[in-house]
Amino acid sequence: MNERSDIDRLLGHWLDDGPSTMPDHVVHVVTFRIARQRQRSASRLDWRRYTWIPTFKLVATMVAVAVVAVIGYNLVPRGSNAIIGGQPTASPSTPSPTATPSVEVIGECVDPVSKCRGALAAGTYGSREFGAALTYAVPSGWVNNIDRFRAFGLGSDEGYIGLMTGPFVVGWADSDCPGYAPAGAGSTATEVVASLSRDPRLLIAPAQVLSIGDRTAEVLDIQIAPSWTGTCISSEGLPAVNVLSTTGDRSGPGFGLAGTERTRAIFLDVGETVVAINIGISDANADFESFVAEAMTIIESMRFGP
């Protein structure tokens, strides 16, 4: 054996001996960080206009998973790694061959399994898939980035408006935020508001009443209570609260808060279900109050089907 092949063999042997398993929490941390990291625009795309429904990242995962299940696609949940009361499973999951259904994806629609419209010119539009048959008016600069049966999203450079339909569960439990006990949130807007208002993890101003068309909605401004110190793995030490979800785990839409994040949540009865709307900023430099004021003009223009 010559000297070169000898050192090749030794180095190969030496390098092979070592850890080869990524620590589980890397996934959680990266998930948290990319939710706050905008993608660079390529010359052929402009991603700056995109935003997802969720504040505290998990929603993006949930939306991607849940709606697929609701619409009946035979999809292995992507990113779903825990069930209530069960042990988290760290093994990677991959989409089944049917995980990419043929759906219309237009313009800058960021959700690959959705009928969202993408970038919107100023005007009035209707949802295509959302179960509550939504119409809405937007100024220029907004994007419809999700349109699924139980989730609908509008985004701008500064923030987002997310909608989802009930029934709802207060919080959710998974391997990222273990130890919480999700509880049913009721079947009417008033019951959901009452459930959230009882959550000691949250600081919520008294509900305000808002008219949306001929419907009455209840408005909550929510942030994490100063006394709450619970964290999730992906919140990197910040207090975190998984506020509301549709399934009690990662398999459905939902939203949460971390640190000093704030959200305005609006609830109204539509037929047999409750529609939850939440507003938040996705650009850390954006002014929450200003963005909410802009978003409220869009929300007040919303009309829901029978």
Binding site: Q37, Q39, A64, R78, G79, P92
Partner: protein
């Protein structure tokens, strides 16, 4: 291989990107650990590399090259981390391992210790080249492409790294012989 996921992630699908992380994370972590020789630094570097990859993914033109592109991002991040840490690590004195060496058909514990010391003395780029070549299995031309350096430069740095590692083993062998004859 993961083209659909890469394409979806490139279009902003965070779930698809997380799936890519789950699928490739172990291998990437292993590479980072080999270059940095430290679990915590490897983890930090991997996290940074993945966030950078997410940020820059829309600029990736050839989706089938994702894996190589990811290795490029990771390698550059590891080199950056190693460069920042190098001065501090160079001042640390590696304590000898006590106790009998475990049997190994190719490398004794002492050999491994010497290799580790020699490896840490290499320039970060040389470490990366060794790992990419001997652990990942890239050809020198691939490494040249990854690091943006001429192939000749890669060859000479690999040669230098081999010599340094070889010298470390030879020195250990001489010490062992001298010690046994004393």
């Amino acid at each position: 291989m993961y083209r659909d996921l890469v394409e979806a992630a490139q279009r902003g699908d965070q779930d698809a990107f997380v799936d890519l992380v789950r699928l490739q994370g172990d291998r990437l972590y292993a590479v980072a650990h080999r270059i940095l020789r430290d679990a915590d630094r490897a983890e930090d570097a991997l996290q940074d590399a993945l966030v950078i990859a997410w940020r820059d993914l829309p600029t990736l033109r050839d989706l089938d090259r994702f894996e190589a592109w990811m290795h490029r991002v990771l390698t550059h991040v590891c080199i950056g981390h190693a460069t920042r840490e190098r001065g501090r690590i160079a001042q640390l004195r590696v304590l000898p391992i006590e106790g009998p060496a475990a049997p190994d058909e190719l490398l004794s514990v002492v050999d491994r210790d010497e290799l580790d010391r020699a490896f840490r003395r290499l320039r970060p780029e040389e470490r990366a080249i060794l790992v990419l070549h001997h652990f990942v299995g890239y050809r020198l031309s691939d490494i040249a492409d990854l690091l943006g350096l001429p192939a000749g430069t890669i060859r000479s740095r690999l040669h230098h790294a081999h010599r340094a590692m070889r010298a470390a083993l030879d020195a250990e062998a001489r010490t062992a012989v001298g010690g046994s004859s004393a």
